[in-house]
Amino acid sequence: MNILQRIRLSVFPGDRKTVNEQPDHQKYFRGLLLHFRPRVVPERTLRLSLTWGLGGMAAVLVFLLFGTGLMLKFVYEPFPGRAYDSILYLNNHVPFGQLIRNIHRWSANGLLLVTFLHFLRVFYTGAFAAPRQFNWIIGLTLFTAVIFSNFTGYLLPWDQLAYWAITISTSMLEYMPVVGPGLKQLVLGGAEPGPTTILNFYAIHTAILPALLLFTLPFHFWRTRKANGLVIPRTPTEDPAIQGAVVESMPNLIVREVAVALVLLAVILLISMFFDAPLADKANPGLSPNPTKAPWYFMGLQEMLMHFHPVFSVFVIPLLLLAGLLLIPYINYQAETAGVWFCSHKGRKMALIAVVIATVATVAGVLLDEFVIGASLSGPPNIINNGLLPFTIILAACTGFYYVMKNRFKASNNEAVQALFTLLMTAFVVLTVIGIWFRGTGMQLMWAG
């Protein structure tokens, strides 16, 4: 053996010839790869209509973000006086600088979207039931980490868009009872975004959250493996005990995963070639642009803030929603629906009704508050009129909705919980859409913009 062969053997031990005579799975899964992907998978879990490749997409985007983020670290300077100029330098002088920034920005937005859809997919296929209960919690943790990664990254360019979006978002914190002002002080390190803020956000964005993702992501995957892979999809009438055939991961799973990854990569690259990441003028603390909006994923929250007393819109309601999400896998369900999209045909119908009701009610509520109630309410918002009263009405409406749907359709609590979840998610999405596209100058309602 010459030295090159010896080096290769030290990296890939074993006789090359005998390896080639081995079956595929042994050839590809002898080593490290076996720790990441299963050797065999149930054939039915390969269906695109189960996962839509969303979890895999999220993983690919995280890799892209780590790669581009590490490159950006070599150019970016986390100081108020220099941050914006370093971005300009990146855009105009660093070869491929603008492209790398675009990939980072669009991947970050894509990751938010993909993880949200992944979260919906897991919910609507009942993939949170035992033994996947705790993985739902891990998933929510990851989702939160993704939101905060996006949020902390939003400030770093230090342009008008970033500066005021962060000002507004952190001011929302101040409305939390008791801990609010202290929390805002901790995050900003001052009364307004400044040197400490940018250092805080930079440290959190480039060290704490990536480290958290690096530990929590493998945990998420590992729990999936421990649950014997993905939930097995079935029609409502199929017996859950019948698992179907089991096939080799290579090539069945791996080729599909690589295909999804490559398509996603191509889409991100195309978008990044044609659309530049936004960069407004350099931050000017003396001039608020009109309108000033939070980052788009917080627009639902900001829209809620325009209708409810802040204690309810940024504290009570989000906290209740979070508690509800955490509780979902631990409710005592009447039926076993894991693997069935929307629980059943009845469940699908109920979810559709929930979407319609929520869309109509949310739009009507916003219009009503804007043009009828809001106009008659002069003076500062009142915690009873603007907070407790509408909150109680909405809470009662949701409870009423749950029981009416359950009784009207003679549904199981699986289907009723799903309908309620759909109602709230739709309302949140509608609020976000209104905030992004239907709020113009001075945050007045307007027709598309």
């Binding site: 009364a191 400490t196 003396g286 000033t292």
Partner: protein, 165 residues
């Protein structure tokens, strides 16, 4: 009685546990102390916080002057009294410009409006504009921007009047 039957091994195990807890507590205290020193005000010089706004006579009654360095507005009311107000909207901290044509502050972010006294005319702002204390020495106005004072609404005792000459 149980104390006497405690074996040496379990005593040492417990001791390790206690020592571990103490070490952990020390770590927590260290981290908190590390971050508490980064609070502003402790590091910055206090001299910068006091802004000399100028002589009383420089300001006409019924006008508002902006101070960029101190990030506040000095309003002289019709009766000659002064108010120093933060330029941050009490809703979500946007910077509120004084629109002299309409004689009010109008927030560009969520259309909150305030009158010359900082009082809310139009929500969603929940409180009147925050105040800074004013001191008048030898007819010269000084504003201490390190002491922000929150208020729910305008009250007569918030106004600082120059001594009658």
């Amino acid at each position: 009685m149980e104390q006497e039957t405690l074996s040496r091994r379990s005593f040492l195990t417990r001791l390790w546990g206690i020592l571990g807890a103490v070490a952990f507590a020390e770590l927590i205290v260290m981290v908190i102390a590390f971050f508490s020193l980064r609070k502003p005000g402790t590091a910055g010089a206090d001299q910068d916080a006091i802004i000399v706004a100028g002589a009383v006579d420089n300001f006409e009654p019924g006008t508002v002057s902006a101070f960029v360095r101190g990030k506040f507005y000095l309003a002289r009311l019709e009766d000659g009294g002064f108010l120093a107000m933060s330029r941050s909207c009490t809703h979500l901290s946007c910077t509120v410009p004084w629109v002299s044509g309409e004689n009010r502050f109008i927030c560009p972010c969520h259309s909150s409006e305030f009158d010359i006294r900082g009082e809310v005319i139009n929500p969603p702002a929940p409180r009147a504009l925050d105040l800074y204390p004013i001191v008048i020495e030898n007819n010269v106005l000084k504003v201490d921007t390190s002491k922000l004072r929150k208020r729910s609404e305008f009250a007569a005792d918030q106004v600082t009047y120059p001594k009658m000459t």
